[in-house]
């Protein structure tokens, strides 16, 4: 390799329990170059870089800095090697000023704020940043906070900058500004790594692209010698046949019609932008999107949990065909109309189930409003718990066994089973098979298909494209909160969906 190598990784492997997050990855980061680290969610990009910044230790493999073998045990070690990482979630103390945040943790530093301010100003002038060192972090915009993070790293003399999805929270103008700064730093001889899954940005800023897929290193290509389509192919890989049973429902009827749905989060960032689509009864509508593209907000809007800025969500009652507006209704009312949601959050127990309670009591969480007596009715939930226990083959010693102590797959069965038991007309699921083994995943797929054949409109937010392609009837692709397109799952390819996920515009299905 060339001698301008700043950091070299050789055969890095990192395991979390049984999961292999990084599998024998070798990578070269060079000075005066911008390297994009590209990959889908869970492909191990952040994990790999966290090993450079001292947050994780590799289980196998070697790291070389300037040709010398090094061990990075802590963020402090990383700093002393000139490695600075800007995390996706900023590491700043809100009640401190920018300058106070910047000098945090520096040992040889005198507490001389006016000198710090001067130094910060120097760095800002050199690379074209714009921050006020006296400003408190809680008064700053997201972009300003990011700037403080970058200056903090530069102030420590970092020569290797790693940015984890730096543009995820920025407006296009702020992104342009950031890119200009990055180009200045590159010209100054710094090595820069950008973790991203946005192809347009990869093409715009980087010199080289390294692609990871499912923890494995696929390859590095020169940006000038590739194109978005080729990168997508590297990113998603070849389609794998799963043989999920997919019968066709005879007469799908519209059940939910969404028009121009827009919502904005507390920080003023548009999460959903003019989203329109129809979900049919007797159909599984897949939602494919990179994490944080608005899929979570979409489901929460539909269940009345997220504030909606504009647009309409119409529920079409089966049989009568009567239309009802869901926007503005309380979550309880929406439930009563038959919109059920089985959302599997990152911590399965965080939303939906109470860990220390058994199956029976968790069933009761959905039926607590039933009955007039002050004493609860334990019979029906007990029966339901028993039914789920038998039908879904939940492995648990009893229906009173705390769900927290069950395995992940069994917890998910309880969660999905309970939603299905309420006989919904619309079933929303998110990451229903996250972290499950193959057999359990198939059990969940079959459950969803069964519901579909009963005429239920199923919306399936998924992570694996292979599954979406074989389980769903249609796939709605979101990109940055906008509808990138809706495709027929039977007549599309992984590459097409992958491409639509990373860049807006694909063909509309008619």
């Amino acid at each position: 390799m060339q001698d301008n190598s700043a950091i070299e990784l050789r055969g890095i492997t990192k395991r979390f329990g049984k999961v292999v997050a990084n599998d024998g990855i070798s990578l070269n980061i060079r000075k005066g170059e911008i390297l994009s680290l590209l990959g889908e969610n869970g492909s191990g990009k952040t994990t790999l870089m966290n090993m450079l910044s001292g947050i994780y230790q590799p289980d196998e493999g070697e790291i070389y800095a300037d040709g010398k073998r090094v061990t990075i045990r802590s963020p402090k070690d990383a700093y002393s090697l000139g490695i600075g990482m800007i995390h996706q979630h900023y590491h700043l103390v809100d009640v401190f000023t920018a300058a106070q945040n910047i000098i945090l943790g520096l040992e040889d530093e005198k507490m001389d704020i006016s000198k710090t301010n001067e130094e910060v100003k120097k760095i800002c002038d050199k690379y074209g940043f714009d921050i006020n060192p006296e400003m408190k972090v809680y008064d700053m915009s997201v972009s300003q906070k990011q700037t403080v993070e970058i200056v903090k790293v530069l102030y420590r003399g970092a020569d290797i900058l790693i940015l984890d999805e730096p543009t995820a929270v920025l407006t296009p103008q702020e992104t342009d500004k950031l890119f200009a700064v990055l180009r200045n730093m590159k010209a100054d001889g710094k090595a820069i790594v950008i973790i991203t899954h946005k192809l347009a940005e990869v093409m715009a800023i980087s010199d080289n692209v390294a692609v990871l897929r499912k923890g494995k290193y696929i390859g590095t290509v020169k940006t000038s010698e590739t194109n978005p389509q080729k990168l997508t192919d590297m990113m998603v890989g070849h389609a794998v046949t799963l043989n999920i049973d997919r019968p066709k429902y005879d007469n799908p009827q519209p059940r939910i019609e969404i028009k121009g749905l827009t919502c904005v989060d507390a920080e003023g960032i548009t999460r959903l932008d003019d989203v329109s689509f129809t979900a049919n009864g007797g159909e599984i509508l897949g939602v494919a999107a990179i994490a944080g593209s608005g899929q979570k907000e979409l489901l929460e809007c539909m269940t009345g949990l997220y504030p909606i800025k504009s647009g309409s969500i119409e529920y079409i009652t089966p049989d009568s065909g009567e239309r009802k507006e869901l926007v503005g209704l309380a979550p309880m009312k929406i439930r009563q109309l038959g919109v059920g949601m089985a959302f599997v959050p990152e911590d399965r127990l965080g939303m939906g189930l109470v860990g220390s309670m058994g199956m029976t009591n968790n069933m009761m969480l959905r039926s607590w409003k039933n009955g007039k007596s002050i004493f609860f009715n334990k019979k029906d939930p007990e029966a339901l718990a028993n039914r789920i226990w038998n039908d879904l083959e939940v492995v648990t010693p009893s229906t009173d066994f705390p769900v927290r102590r069950m395995s992940g797959g069994n917890i998910q069965k309880v969660l999905v089973g309970r939603e299905i038991a309420s006989e919904p007309n619309v079933l929303l699921t998110a990451y229903a098979v996250r972290g499950l083994d193959i057999n359990t995943s198939y059990a969940i797929y079959n459950l969803l298909t069964e519901q579909k054949m009963k005429g239920v409109a199923v919306i399936y937010v998924g992570e694996e494209l292979d599954v979406l392609l074989e389980l769903c009837d249609r796939i709605l692709v979101l990109c940055g909160g906008k509808v990138s397109g809706i495709v027929d799952a039977r007549n599309t390819t992984k590459e097409e969906v992958g491409f639509m996920m990373t860049s807006l515009g694909g063909k509309e299905e008619k």
Partner: protein, 328 residues
């Protein structure tokens, strides 16, 4: 008017006790450790502080004892026992990552028990009251200002007639304020209490900061217990006299919004509220209601600050939360 002066003068001596307790807890909480064991720590500080001074006097003989040395022994003994309690708390919560609330409450029960046992044991050894000789008692209540200053009307009795511990506590409060606001170590300590993730990523040894702050904080709080026994308590062990003071100190930490300078006047105010039932008697107003006043004031402050929602006047953001690097 005379009542008011008398009240404020008396409030100062009880306020001194609270000031030590509160300053120690502020230091601890600034690092993100919510040590609810202050009650137990102050109890132990009282018992062991007295024991330290008593042991010194017993060793050298009543006639030969020196006031300053006795005071040093009392401070050292109480600080040491508080520091050990802080070390225990840190070990359980930082290293073993146990729940801070439960650990703190357990420490309160444990500390109270240890203090009462130690007090009874001393009494048993001596065979009667454990108390210091009169010259030493006077040394502990020594007023460091000349008589003519103490005689200044109004100001004299309130400001210049307090035992020297009062002035020591004020110096400590100012020093702590400067430490938080002007020194690098103070800034890093606050960072640990606000956001351990940030501190850790910046290369600050968050474990060390929490340990040291909790240990020193525990020591300072314990000195408060000792001051109570040696001044208001008349250098004699009385097993129920310290009850509730530690909780008052915890309330005062919230009342003064984790700021050492506020602790000075806050402690005097709390001291006044606490002893008001002795000095300002209203007919048909039961003393129990008087004793509630500090807590009522704390509640009002909590409500007012949360209504104003100022970003600067908030508890340390990571207060009560344990941190583990790979746990994210």
């Amino acid at each position: 008017m005379n009542t008011l002066i008398a009240l404020l003068a008396a409030a100062g001596s009880f306020g001194t006790v609270l000031m030590f307790g509160t300053l120690g807890e502020i230091l601890t909480e600034k690092s993100g450790s919510l040590n609810l064991g202050v009650e137990g720590i102050m109890y132990m500080g009282g018992a062991f502080g007295l024991a330290g001074a008593y042991a010194y006097e017993a060793a050298v003989g009543v006639g030969a004892s020196n006031g300053i040395v006795a005071i040093l022994f009392a401070i050292l003994a109480s600080f040491a026992v508080g520091a050990i309690a802080g070390l225990l708390f840190s070990f359980i919560t930082v290293t073993l990552r146990a729940n801070q609330n439960v650990t703190g409450l357990a420490l309160t029960i444990f500390g109270t028990g240890v203090a009462k046992f130690a007090g009874e044991y001393m009494r048993h050894l001596v065979g009667g009251f454990v108390t210091l000789s009169n010259p030493l008692k006077e040394a502990f209540s020594f007023v460091p200002f000349p008589q003519f200053m103490r005689n200044i009307p109004f100001v004299g009795p309130i400001l210049f007639s307090q035992p020297f511990f009062f002035y020591l506590a004020i110096i400590l409060a100012v020093a702590m304020h400067l430490f938080f606001q002007k020194t690098k170590t103070g800034l890093y300590l606050r960072a640990v209490g606000e956001s351990p993730v940030t501190a850790d990523a910046a290369g600050i040894n968050m474990t060390k900061y929490r340990y040291v702050a909790t240990i020193i904080g525990g020591g300072i709080s314990a000195v408060g217990g000792m001051v109570y026994v040696m001044t208001t308590g008349g250098c004699t062990w009385n097993e129920s006299s310290l009850g509730g003071i530690g909780w008052l100190a915890v309330a005062l930490v919230i009342f003064c919004m984790w700021r050492p300078l506020n602790a000075i006047w806050g402690a005097i105010l709390f001291g006044a509220l606490k002893i008001m039932y002795l000095r300002v008697l209203l007919p048909f107003f039961p003393t129990e209601l008087y004793k509630m006043l500090p807590y009522v004031v704390t509640l009002i402050v909590l409500v007012v600050t949360s209504m104003r929602n100022s970003r600067d006047k908030q508890p340390p953001a990571a207060l009560g939360l344990n941190y583990f690097r790979e746990d994210r």
